[in-house]
């Protein structure tokens, strides 16, 4: 079964600093990978996704992520963090399921705090 590990539960960065959130996955085939962001009390917003092709993917809000098959990683990066980026970030791997549709397996999330 697939699994996702986000080793950092909390991360604090200063506004304007660069950011990297780590994500490692376990999956037998080429994975469908996602990063979602969740603000307090809100639903999940998709930041970016990787299905195939170029291993460096660009997302919304200035985020990017790089798929590295050899390391089973899909780390999220942003060159300069803004205070509004403070939120919880979830990495997820998708899989097709029997009967149609797909299933997202999420990591436990990384809580990002931004210091002004």
């Amino acid at each position: 079964a697939q699994s996702v590990t986000q080793p950092d539960i909390h991360i604090t960065v200063s506004e304007g600093a660069s950011l990297e959130l780590r994500c490692n996955y376990s999956y037998g085939a080429t994975p469908y990978l996602f990063w979602y962001v969740q603000s307090p009390g809100q639903g999940l917003q998709l930041l970016l996704k990787y299905f195939s092709g170029d291993t460096l993917v660009q997302g919304i809000k200035g985020f990017e992520a790089e798929f590295k098959r050899s390391q089973s990683s899909f780390n999220l990066r942003k060159p300069s963090v803004h205070w509004s980026d403070a939120a919880e970030y979830f990495c997820a791997v998708g899989d097709r399921v029997t009967g149609g549709g797909n299933k997202l397996t999420f990591g436990t999330g990384t809580q990002l705090k931004v210091e002004l």
Binding site: G43, L44, F90, G94, G99, G101, L104
Partner: protein, 115 residues
């Protein structure tokens, strides 16, 4: 704008009193999902509908059921809520007709409190 809508956003119920959460979508997606997200945890898939076909996750308690009367609406019924069922419930949709994998779109969630 096409979207996934969940009502209510906040629901309070009493221990053992049945409760229904609602999800609707204007995306015309054929697949609808329900996730449970407990405090400080990752969302966990409870079940999903592929068109009219219901697909239950193996570890979803019998206390949780779902109905999908039409393409646009899907309901989550909790027959006898326990304190452990307090959580954020997220509805999501995707378009799926075989072949390519398609992303899921999430609603804002319903926060359920059990007293």
């Amino acid at each position: 704008d096409a979207m996934v809508i969940q009502n209510p956003r906040y629901q309070v119920t009493q221990f053992g009193k049945p409760v229904t959460l609602s999800c609707s979508q204007t995306l015309n997606h054929n697949v609808m999902y329900w996730y449970q997200q407990k405090s400080s945890q990752a969302p966990k898939l409870l079940f999903h509908y592929y068109d009219k076909d219901f697909n239950n996750e193996a570890d979803t308690p019998d206390n949780f059921q779902s109905r999908r009367p039409n393409t646009s609406f899907c309901f989550l019924d909790i027959r006898s809520p326990g304190l452990g069922d307090a959580a954020m419930y997220l509805c999501a949709t995707s378009r799926d007709h075989g072949g390519h994998y398609n992303e899921q779109f999430f609603g804002p969630g319903t926060r359920l409190t059990v007293l």
